[in-house]
Amino acid sequence: MKTMLLTLIAVLFCIGGAFAQSNQGILEKIDNIRAPGKTFTFNLKVTVHTPEKEQVTELFVRTKDSKKSLVFYKSPASEKGKIMLMVDDNMWIYMPGNRRPIRISPQQQILGRVSNADVARVVFNLDYRVDSVKNGRIDNKDALSISLKARTAGAAYSSIDVWAEKETYRLMKADFFALSGSLLKTTHYRGYETILDAERPTILEVRDSMKKDEYTVMEYSNMKVEETPETHFQSTYMERLSSR
């Protein structure tokens, strides 16, 4: 009897583990659509739309081993030369006018409703774990509704609800929540194009939940698999990168 009970517990653990692995596997498939690998580069144009103005910022991003990113500001002229570095949950900003890298928190947002992490991180699975996966429908398509929870207190959001096409795992929409549980923003993933042998979203539209008349559009282009030396991902190196 005792042996049977132990066997049953072991089987239940295995099944639970398999489910968890399967859920995390779904998230990895979604991430693989957004990122062509662990090490790559891309251009990013961020346009913040408010009733008063339209502000465009052009960035160049280098990522390495998924968890390291360098974000170079190319325009506007007043921002040119600024660099942001992210290594795991560590973030620094280097402004040519400041002459030293400054450690910043993930909360320090840079462009409209887009946070540092939104720009520097392309994948979810480093900062979030799958809490649940449900079937549903969105935009008249069968979809998976995946609830993500932050792995650490340093993650940009407390939780994220992600919607992806059931057949293709293509991201469709994500709701981002604060620790209080309030909805901060919603992102729609659009403009799917074949890039590096896969259909990937090139346009992200970010809508603020509080300011309904404001939204931010992130446009990805020129995605390449390209190596960046390890030493470049150090805050002390940032000054040397500013003019390259």
Binding site: E52, P76, A77, S78, K80, D88, R99, S105, T236, S243
Partner: protein
């Protein structure tokens, strides 16, 4: 003639700066960026202050117009690069006085080896430290002149560099640095200085740590640490232990009229002292960022030293006004001016800054408070940056110095300062 030459150099650089230069050829790269700023500064000069006219700092005009270019140029060829950051400046006043100056923050050549070893030589403004209100570990920059009319964050950035030679070695999550800044008669008055530095990233605990050793006129060792705590908070501390020399102190030698005072040579007062900053910055959901720092300045005067200093200044001021041995009194005041460094006179300070970016989508607003906890004098400095478009920004800032005329911030020669300007970025 010199003014004309400097003005011509300024115009030439202005023209160069306006060119949209960003060239690149085989192994060669050229990049230029910067801004032109036109700024009007008004100083609400006090009619009567203790470190009074005739002793140095009172000749400032009320209105000053400052036109300056901040030009950053980088020329790279293969493994070498030249970095230049210049500030040609033209100052003019309503009285018709004008003065040109060509300030060089950086002008150095750097060689790169294997992308991880760098050797450089020339003039370079190196800024150390993690804090905002004070940087005890900023050893090479500690004697640089502070321009109070600049916005707080610009004061330690826009300053002339040191002539030096250095070596940086990069390893995984660690950087080692050695810098030598020699005494150069006529160009660099400080004695030979050496700075050794080791910077580490402790990735798992989200912490940067920098250890420094400094040999120079005031030898010392320093430590700077910063860490991220959760989603919104960054905490940091930096400290420097200095030995052998502290701030010069005033001692009365004789009470017989006229009194005799002497500045005690800090070298005779040997010992160690600690400079320390502990602080943090927090960012709220609505992007408001607040910084709070406690600053301990071990070199500053304690209550007794301050009383000696202020008695000395008052004695010289009152007697000079009366015309009593005015030559001696003027020399006393000149001596007092030479040891007065506002913001570093006492031991305990509080620094705070609140910043709200993106007000109405175009305005960045800040309010800085620096308080002397020993005498309760303080500085309040609001500033606004209004972005007209991607290339043009309007700036306005003010400094209000609060305190009686015999306490630190109340001793500054002007009660308030206001400046407004326009910057064009290129």
């Amino acid at each position: 003639m010199m003014t004309l030459l400097r003005a011509s150099a300024l115009l030439l650089l202005l023209s160069l700066g306006l060119l949209p230069i960003d060239a690149c050829a085989e192994g060669f790269a050229f990049d230029a960026s910067g801004r032109i700023t036109e700024q009007v500064i008004y100083l609400d000069l006090k009619k009567d202050y203790l470190l009074n006219p005739g002793a140095g700092s009172a000749s400032s005009p009320r209105w000053t117009n400052r036109l300056y270019l901040y030009e950053s140029v980088t020329v790279s060829y293969k493994n070498a690069r030249f970095v230049g950051r210049m500030r040609p400046t033209l100052l003019s006043t309503p009285g018709g006085y004008s003065e040109g100056d060509f300030l060089t923050d950086d002008a150095y050549v750097e060689m790169r080896f294997q992308d991880r070893y760098f050797a450089y030589a020339g003039k370079r403004n190196i800024r150390e430290g993690v804090a905002y209100g004070a940087n005890p570990v900023d050893f090479l920059g500690e004697k640089k002149k502070v321009d109070w009319t600049l916005r707080e964050e610009e004061r330690r950035v826009e300053r002339e560099g040191n002539y030096l030679a250095g070596l940086d070695l990069f390893f995984r999550n660690a950087t080692l640095t050695a810098i030598f800044a020699p005494h150069l008669s006529g160009n660099q008055q400080e004695e030979d200085r050496l700075l050794l530095k080791a910077a580490f990233l402790l990735e798992r605990i989200k912490t940067d740590a920098t250890l420094l050793y400094y040999y120079g006129d005031k030898p010392g060792a320093g430590l700077a640490v910063s860490t991220t705590a959760g989603h919104s908070l960054v905490l940091y501390t930096e400290s420097a232990l200095r030995w052998n020399e502290g701030r010069g102190k005033i001692r009365m030698i004789s009470a017989r009229t006229p009194r005799t005072y002497a500045l005690v040579d800090p070298g005779d007062d040997s010992g160690t002292y600690l400079n320390l900053v502990v602080g943090g910055q927090y960012t709220f959901d609505n992007k408001v960022n607040i910084i709070g720092e406690y600053i301990y300045n071990g070199e500053g005067y304690d209550a007794c030293d301050w009383r000696n200093y202020i008695d000395f200044v008052k004695y010289a001021h009152v007697n000079r006004e009366k015309g009593f041995v005015s030559g001696l009194m003027s020399s006393y005041l000149a001596q007092a001016n030479s040891i007065t460094t506002f913001g570093q006179m006492r031991r305990n300070y509080l620094f705070a800054r609140i910043n709200k970016p993106d007000i109405g989508g175009k305005i960045d607003g800040s309010l800085v408070f620096v308080g002397n906890l020993d005498d309760r004098s303080c500085l309040l400095s609001p500033s606004l940056v209004y972005r007209l478009n991607d290339r043009v920004a309007l700036t306005a800032s003010a400094q209000f110095f609060i305190g009686n005329k015999d306490i630190e911030y109340g001793m500054i020669p002007w009660q308030n300062a206001v400046s407004a300007g326009i910057s064009v970025f290129f």
